[in-house]
Symmetry: C2
Subunit: 278 residues, 2 copies
């Protein structure tokens, strides 16, 4: 069961024991920069280098085929999920890398259990799959909407733990990132989407409604993270008011986790040694 | 029906009229470099710049959402499909970009028509899907194996034309690239896979068997391209003995095709103009 190895520098931001009552989301400052080297320019250069390192690691991961890698990106609207995909994963070849974005379930999807559509999208051997939102939305959204009672929430969170344990036991490395921004920063970013013609398309009026329920979302995020931070699928809370720091932290964690797998190019089968092509 | 616009420089390498009896695969020299600026180093710099341009275009394509884009990469083993994905598409964000690799159909897939699995993987609005091999394998392989008779081949090729026409009529821009290498170049590349520990994993003994049927593959490629080069889904034959030139030609064609779509960021809906975020 490949439990991911995380860098020591992020231990204060990691939740990996289910039922961790000590974890308080509000205790983490969205403006904190635990992985920063100091300057923003330096950090950007480091992110660019890390993105190249991750490309090399992913190429080896794809060749190796012993593991699967699932990266979950969660966070409120404008928290930087798309930006992370661009800056952390943008140097990888689209070979063995796939993004799955999750919107409100369709009627056909709602006719199944909430993990049904998720299961179809998990990575195969050698694949890296990036979840842009995830099965956690099926806890967050109905809880805030008031359509899932307390007992049902606990049941669903336990089902998630069982599901993720099974994925891990069958070879999937799971890393979950919660992109943590302040309400003020979100206000700024939503306004930018309304003001910048190249960002209009990203603006969804529903985001304003979700913003009105900010506290409710923070509360259920905390509860869900407490319940589902496990050794086999830890949560990393990423202070994300700084986009550069957000990228830096995620890339740093991912690099460490991938390096610790001891990836290798598979050897040549014995019967092929010495073969000459005619 | 968005028929792709192609650069004039590749017109001699394009098949876009079905039943084009003039097209002869053997008449195209795999070592030719119609898009080259002269030097290999210069060409590499241009490819890197084109890859960045394509990233910008793809980002806009994803925002625009009026079109779908399907890129088919075909070619014999070692012709450079993976390398194309890396060098031409490697600068794109994995957001709205997806690769679908096609292997021999599974038992469940064989229980359906040959386009069944293909249809499930075509791009949605705004998406760019890269077919690493494609439905054309379902003509090439059985013909060389002798399990598909002449009439059945014609029927299948006509079905492909109908299928691609429907995709085009419903908003899909289709570009098909045949990566054309010489038998000698393939021998060299296969040997490299046997000699380089970082390439062992790419070697498949079945590639040697396919190589023995080189002429049969070239013949059916020619027939398939003649029958399925259409205005709505043209074939571009890419001389691919030079990897740099291959990348250059594909990136050049793709850039022209994407630019000619008049992509734009969608406007802000009227009811959102002037809204201030609280």
């Amino acid at each position: 069961m490949p439990a991911p190895t995380l860098p020591k520098s992020v231990s204060k931001f990691t939740v990996s024991q289910p039922g961790d009552k000590n974890f308080k989301l509000a205790a983490i400052d969205p403006a904190d920069k635990p992985c920063s080297s100091g300057g923003k320019t330096d950090d950007r250069v480091i992110v660019d280098q890390l993105a190249l390192d991750l490309d090399v690691l992913q190429n080896r991961f794809w060749a190796d085929k012993r593991f699967k890698l699932l990266v979950v990106l969660q966070g409120v609207d404008t928290s930087g999920k798309d930006g992370t995909l661009r800056h952390v994963f943008g140097r990888m070849t689209p070979l063995g890398v796939r993004t799955a974005g999750w919107k409100a379930p369709t009627e056909a999807e709602r006719a199944h259990d909430f993990l049904w559509r998720i299961h179809q999208a998990v990575p195969a051997a050698g694949e890296l799959v990036l979840f842009n939102r995830s099965h956690y939305e099926d806890v967050l959204v109905p809880v805030v909407a008031g359509t899932l009672d307390d007992e049902a929430v606990d049941e669903r969170l336990a089902q998630i733990n069982d599901f993720e344990r099974m994925l891990s036991q069958t070879g999937t490395v799971i890393l979950k990132f919660m992109l943590h921004i302040s309400k003020k920063e979100q206000g700024k970013r939503l306004q930018q989407r309304l003001d910048d013609p190249e960002k209009y398309w990203k603006f969804d009026p529903a985001d304003l409604q979700a913003r009105e329920k900010w506290d409710a979302y923070q509360a259920i995020y905390e509860r869900a993270i407490r319940a589902t931070g496990t050794p086999w699928a830890p949560w990393v809370i990423v202070p994300a008011d700084s986009k550069t720091h957000r990228n830096l932290m995620i890339a740093t964690v991912l690099k460490k986790a991938m390096e610790s797998l001891g990836l290798r190019f598979p050897p040549l089968p014995e019967e092929l040694v010495g073969v000459k092509v005619k």
